[in-house]
């Protein structure tokens, strides 16, 4: 009913629907460990302790000394997951940052100037979306060697096209809006229009998309590590931890299970928070 639409505004009402469970899970599994692993991890994640090899988790015949069990070198799984969180967060955040900066810049300009530059960018987007990230990762690993940098580049490269495409689509619409015409008539420069009038109106989209991409970035990083073309050992990246447990899955399941669970819980809660954010920031969704 168009008659009832009231101007949308951000209000406390929206905060009532905060997705509390995903936020708590994310804090416990990902964010707090990422920043405080050094102080909360019970053991050193790197030092082997051969006397304590392959201890099962507590309640499965193990002890509270190693709550999630140990791996074949006797390293504490819990401590390794906690320390790995920092690395996973760094890769996904920096990777997404690269994707956002590259994708938004190209999308903004392509949507605004249109014409040849737009066609060029959109073809690059098509190519980038058609090219499997794994293939690129293999190539980069071969060229640069597997390193933190190459993982960040792969993540950024895998994601920029989504941002470029989405931002361009919105800029195309905004460019024809009356307020942009009004601003041109007022005498504003193109830079002013882009940064003062168009960019603020696509920020919501970028934030939501970036949140939803955290899950993809983590999965991508985990897959790269699992395949051995991610960051090299001994960094306890979660994908590497799963990969380490692969050979023991039939006998000592916990080595792969708990890192896998951490990946799943993190990605799931990030996605749920992203969905909520999309609804909360979307002015088209009325409060009825």
């Amino acid at each position: 009913m168009a008659e009832l639409s009231t101007p949308s505004r951000f209000s406390l009402r929206r905060l009532r629907n905060l997705p509390l469970v995903p936020i708590i899970i994310l804090l416990v599994v990902f964010i707090i460990p990422a920043f405080f692993a050094q102080w909360i991890a019970p053991h050193d994640p790197y030092v082997p302790n051969l006397r304590a090899r392959l201890q099962p988790p507590v309640f499965f015949g193990g002890t509270w000394e190693y709550p999630l069990g140990t791996d074949r070198l006797g390293r504490d799984i819990l401590s390794r997951i906690l320390h790995g969180a920092w690395y996973v967060m760094a890769v996904s955040m920096i990777g997404i940052f690269v994707g956002v900066v590259v994708g938004t810049t190209l999308g903004l300009i392509a949507g605004y100037v249109r014409g040849r530059f737009d066609s060029l960018v959109m073809r690059l987007v098509d190519i980038s979306l058609a090219l499997p990230a794994m293939l690129l990762a293999l190539a980069l690993a071969a060229a640069l060697g597997a390193s933190f940098l190459s993982v960040v580049i792969v993540v950024g490269f895998a994601l920029w096209a989504y941002f470029a495409r989405q931002v361009r689509a919105e800029v195309l619409l905004l460019r024809d809006s009356d307020f942009v015409a009004r601003s041109l008539v007022a005498g504003s420069s193109h830079a002013r229009i882009l940064f003062r009038h168009i960019l603020p109106n696509v920020v919501n989209t970028i934030v939501v998309l970036a949140t939803l991409q955290v899950g993809i970035a983590i999965m991508l990083d985990a897959s790269l590590s699992f395949l051995g073309i991610g960051i090299p050992r001994p960094t306890p990246a979660w994908g590497l931890l799963v990969s380490d447990g692969r050979d023991f899955i039939a006998t000592d399941w916990w080595i792969a299970f708990f890192p896998g669970l951490a990946i799943m819980l993190t990605v799931l809660s990030v996605n749920m928070i992203g969905d909520w954010l999309r609804d909360a920031l979307d002015p088209r969704l009325k409060q009825f």
Binding site: R9, D178, R182, V185, G187, R196, N201
Partner: protein, 324 residues
Amino acid sequence: MKNPTILEARGLSKHFEVKDGFFSRETKTVRAVNDLNFEISKGETLALVGESGCGKTTTTRLLLRLQNPTQGVINFEGKDVHSLTGADLKRFRSRVQAVFQDPWSSINPRVRIRDFVAEPLIVNETLTSGEVDRRVHEALDAVGLGPAHARKYPHEFSGGQRQRIAIASAIVTRPDLVILDEPVSGLDVSIRSQIINLLKDMQQEYGISYILVAHDLATTRYLADKVAVMYLGSIIETGDTDQIFDHPRHPYTEALLSAALPSSPTEKNREIVLKGEIPSPLSPPDGCPFHPRCPKVVGNICSTAFPQLAAETPQVQVGCHIYK
């Protein structure tokens, strides 16, 4: 006493190339605007009247330098608008402003009112922040909004208030000319007369000229000194508003005015219902663009020769073969 001309259009045309179908490589030319000539004096209101596809929107976009003409010139203070650069362009941008139809889409929702109203000042003049504030408060005051509103965001205002804000922003540089693109049709009926009166007050106060585009003929009559009636990209009748409304000469003007709704049931005038619809500008008819629908065709000449505008009275020009 004749006021000085501040803007004139000479032979103004705008043609677009469009693809002739989705798979076709051939293009067709749409003559959106064809050989327009008009001028506007200081403190005067010129209205462009016509139905969809008549080219009035394209004309305003050309006047605002949002599009370039295919042919012809627009002179503002004697200089061709479309070849202005540097300081001259800045001057044009601060002297000519616009108010758009939809008060919801013409204000950036993420900018404070103060910054929205101040934009034409900030980008064209070098003023201290205090001076900008003073000018913004003056403009808001002139449209009947208090300075306290300057800090708010657009969503806190109703449609009528938003249109006042848009007008404040259009007058903040004290321009010579404001283009009004359907300034009241996006508003509630009980709000419209407030805005119409405000526009009139602004004109008297600051001597602004208006170019008005409105489909509501009664509003046009109320606000405009001169009208230009457009059909399929051409002006077919132009001149003094009262003369044209009281005594339309072109058959299209006559039909258009007769189709306007009465303001009371006693005012029922004889309604001329035209046959057919406005032809597509992709394939305009030869000769007079109006002849396929015209109830007063005088002969072959209507479908073969384009009728040029000619003076019927000192204040009215008509383009119709009836008058030759």
